[in-house]
Amino acid sequence: MTKTHFGFTQVDESEKAGRVGAVFTSVADRYDVMNDLMSAGLHRLWKRFTVDLARVKKGDRVLDLASGSGDLAMAFSQLTPNVVMTDINAAMLARGRDRMLDRGHPIPAVQCDAEKLPFADQSFDLVTVAFGLRNMTHKENALAEMYRVLAPGGRAIVLEFSQIWEPLKPVYDAYSLHVLPRMGQWVAGDAESYRYLAESIRMHPDQDTLKKMMQDVGFFSVNFHNLSAGIVALHMGYRY
């Protein structure tokens, strides 16, 4: 059986999705407050930057993968009515769907695996995934699926934790590997899930590797922006 990483732990590939699912089911209720707490509110700015860069026009067809509680989908739905949100985790998707509805934007919410998208080829103008790619077992498959469902001229955006600027690494490591799990225990009653978060960030490809992965599945003009000294990187690629 092929092994893959689940944080710093090696697990069978078939196990990873279930384990990641358990993490998100566990943290779904406190997901938003923990996001604010962990990132000191910065995740809102990272997402706003993503929305600004996406340049969505009215009528654009937008697919948001691993939508979670729907922050990006919410922002896109203010710009175009054709937004679809997806997540593999039912608890997170239900939370996102209800948030959208409570704000008067009921949009299709599809529970599906981002590595096997149930959408036709070339059916979207923009595909986004924010803080979701690192949880996927076969990232290259997910990127290939993003490429497949994009219409020519469309663009894909990947917002994900990345490799921080080297001089800040000791502080960041201390924070994420020691403070974060305690914070998770205190607020969400779940240290393990947040330990996984910190470890999965370390195991995620760095900026250049992810850029190459996107190019390998067919994306053109791939570039990336480091946000907050590389805590997060935004990768963008086009299909022509």
Binding site: L37, L45, D98, H105, W165, E166, V187, Q207, F224, H225
Partner: protein, 316 residues
Amino acid sequence: MNIFSRFSVLILIVLSLSFSIQDAFAAKRLGGGGSVGRQRDTQTMQRAPTPAPVAPGAARPNAPGVPGNAAAPAPVRPQVAPAPVPQRNSWMGPLAGFAGGALLGGLLFGGHGGGFGGGDLGGGLMSILFMGLLVAGFVFLVRRFLFSNAPQQYAEAAPAGWAEVPPQTQYSPQGSYGTGSAQPAMEQAPLNLPPGFDLPGFIREAKLAYVRLQAANDAADLNDLRLFTTPQMYAEISIAIQERGGVQQRVEVLTVDAQLLDLIIENNEAIASVQYHATIREDQGAPELVNEIWHVRKLLNDPHSSWLLAGIQQVA
């Protein structure tokens, strides 16, 4: 009449016409903000706080939702805050500014293409910003978490879909009764729901119907309206659409929350009363709070029957 007077009259006519046209095309939510179709006595509805001893003199007979008889169950009355715009977190401004600095720093000194460097100045600035950000963010967010503890407890106790009740729609039973005495928080009597009734699912569908019917009304989509309304209610709505000339309009639903007030079965039909607390914007104007009850009915002797809107009732 000299030419100046004629010109003045012409201007007056044009102005009055433009005002009347503007009035005629003023976007209105479904029901036009009034009570239409089937109406019910909200005082007899099941969903009510446990009766509390209320001095007869303290009751306001004309106030909706306040029973004249202290022994009778009283319906829950929401407290609607006067401010029409949902509260914003006051800490977000400074925090966003601080974070924005860090972001700018990240962008300036990080730059496109991956270089984080920028020399010692960039690194030093980033370190200071980063550490300051963490400390400030942590303090503000801990405060936010602690102060929002009470509503979160309420949210946890509520069914799915009610998790994010806007602050202005939180119940305040004491204030509703106006007795002035400190009363403990009243338990709400459970609804007498049929076994297997999916309340969270019903509430979700109710919110969906609210948004969808507003959109159908905006688009003058009579086919969609017909699908979700009783014949009587459909007649009322279609007349209103005809009166505005069938033109499209825009009523934006900014937030919507719903709760099932009452469910009764009479004469082979189930009637549910759903109270909506919504924030809407008509004609790009200022956000407006809506507090209204929609009565929906379902025929029990027809297996294909679905919930249809039978009436809209404004809550004072």
